[in-house]
Amino acid sequence: MDACVRRHATRSLHVTARASASPPRGLGLSLTHLLREPRRTVTSPRIRSPIVESHFRSMTVSPEPAVSVDRLVKKYKSTTAVDGISFSLPAGSVTGSLPAGSVTGLLGGNGAGKTTTIAMIMGLVMPTSGRVEVLGAEMPRQRYHVLQRMNFESPYVDMPMRLTVRQNLDVFGRLYGVADIAGRIARLSQELALTEFIDRPTGKLSSGQKTRVSLAKALLNEPDLLLLDEPTASLDPDTADWVRSHLERYRREHAATLLLASHNMAEVERLCDRVIIMKRGRIEDDDTPARLLTRYGRQNLEDVFLDVARGRVETPAAFAEDRP
């Protein structure tokens, strides 16, 4: 399948899955059900070609979304960090010839609510109201049912500095119940080029090396859902590109669902099939990068981001057209 069709197919999958923020509990998320759901976002099924439709019919979609966020609110005293957001990310277990997995970007300025949203998805923060489900488990109440199937990476969380890379990965491998930890560490060392410093204390590594180690920790348990908070922050362009390539490969090979918070618009454009833009705790826009560029009449996501952040385009023409 050519890249264009593959991209459209992936987009369409996200459109339908997103529309079903709250699927009936205990029922499979059938494609028919998804297509019947009223659209709540700006995308249109017009982009789905007949070729893509036929591919949809040949797919098997996992019974529950990877992430389902429904009317989620988080208030801290006088501040509302997240204000009633809803979205859904499809699980990545797709068979057939379509590209597996998905990458969704979560964009927004400082204080937009991205980190709080991710923290609620991880079960680290309890919502004030609303509901978060991850791989069918309600967070944070049922988090121990799914924590072994998810993982995360963030430059704002470190691993113990005095432990060597191997020791750190060994400890986390045991925590995640990884079978054949030594073998998994050896494979990740090869894939992420850790071999050279695998027995060096983590605190003595460069930023780029630490990021690769964090990524190795995040991939130890081969998660179905990977949450990434600025995975390439403070990395040189070469290392950042290297990390992005690895994430693309992981998503493809493991049919994983990735949710990525980033301020790097080029990164988002490259990696993400879908972009959710947040502002003051609310979702301002939610679409594929290509359609966002078209609707806002911009050449790159950075300009789209600035338009949204500064309120320069409140209702783009195409946005209005797409509304049901």
Partner: protein, 271 residues
């Protein structure tokens, strides 16, 4: 690929955490030195004081080793709690708490690992000190036999309870509360009558003292060293109080963890 999510408590995850702290201890000789240093200073100071008083006062001469015994038992209580709390603080200092809270590690497994590590740290610190106490002052703590086991178990039990509460407070309030790890236990020093009989306290404070499990241990130690009687009744009461205190502290920890989730403290701690 990970094994399927286990339904309950996992000894493997507890072992993983113990391994993590062991790796840290093994990698840092200053940490190991510190474990021995303060108990040794305490023991030497009080040992020489006891030696001096023993030469000049009949009562203390009869109660050979009371001070050194009290110092060593107090160190079990204090160092046990410190070993627990500092191991927890290591996660905050290393900004690793987010990784742990996001992993399948359960709070009770985390607590169990910290309990094991506190005993390991305590043994590293106390064994050399006990050897020196025996060689220099002729006080053989191991000579207390079964009584020592009862004293040790009750004191370490209390130290875990206090360590759990301190860790919960740090979890909820961040590193601003870390000084509690070094200070909170000292309120027990006068109230649990480490160096003097409970009868020394004013009547009101005696009621408070008898609510605290370590009081029974220090009274029991004096009964053993002075009157040569092992008071099983004191140890039994201490055990019951300790069980209640431990359950209460675990409950408080879980409540503080819930509160931390509501207030977003876990995310801030990770950053």
């Amino acid at each position: 690929m990970s094994a399927p999510a286990s339904a309950g408590f996992s000894a493997a995850r507890v072992f993983a955490m113990v391994l993590r702290y062991w790796y840290v201890l093994r990698s840092s000789w200053p940490r190991l030195m510190e474990l021995v240093y303060w108990p040794m200073v305490q023991m030497l100071t009080w040992g020489f004081l006891q030696h001096y008083i023993g030469q000049n006062a009949g009562y203390f001469a009869r109660a050979g080793g009371t001070f050194i015994g009290a110092v060593l038992l107090w160190d079990i209580l204090f160092r046990g709690q410190l070993g627990f709390s500092v191991s927890f603080l290591e996660e905050m200092w290393a900004r690793n708490l987010g990784n742990l809270m996001m992993s399948p590690l359960r709070p009770m497994e985390f607590i169990a690992a910290l309990m094991v590590v506190s005993v390991i740290r305590l043994l590293i610190g106390m064994v050399p000190v006990m050897l020196v106490a025996s060689g220099l002052f002729g006080f053989n703590l191991l000579g207390l036999g079964v009584a020592l086991a009862a004293f040790f178990f009750n004191l370490i039990f209390t130290s875990w309870s206090i360590g759990i509460v301190v860790s919960g407070l740090v979890l909820r309030n961040g590193l601003g509360a870390e000084s509690l790890a070094w200070t909170l236990m000292f309120i027990f020093l006068p109230l649990t009558c480490v160096y003097y009989p409970v009868a020394t306290l004013p009547a009101v404070l005696q009621y408070v003292a008898w609510l605290l499990p370590p009081t029974y241990v220090f009274e029991g130690m004096r009964a053993l060293l002075i009157d040569h009687v092992f008071r099983t009744d004191l140890m039994g009461t201490a055990l019951v109080l300790n069980a209640g205190l431990f359950a209460l502290s675990a409950f408080v920890f879980l409540k503080l963890l819930d509160s931390a989730r509501r207030h977003g403290s876990l995310v801030q701690a990770g950053e």
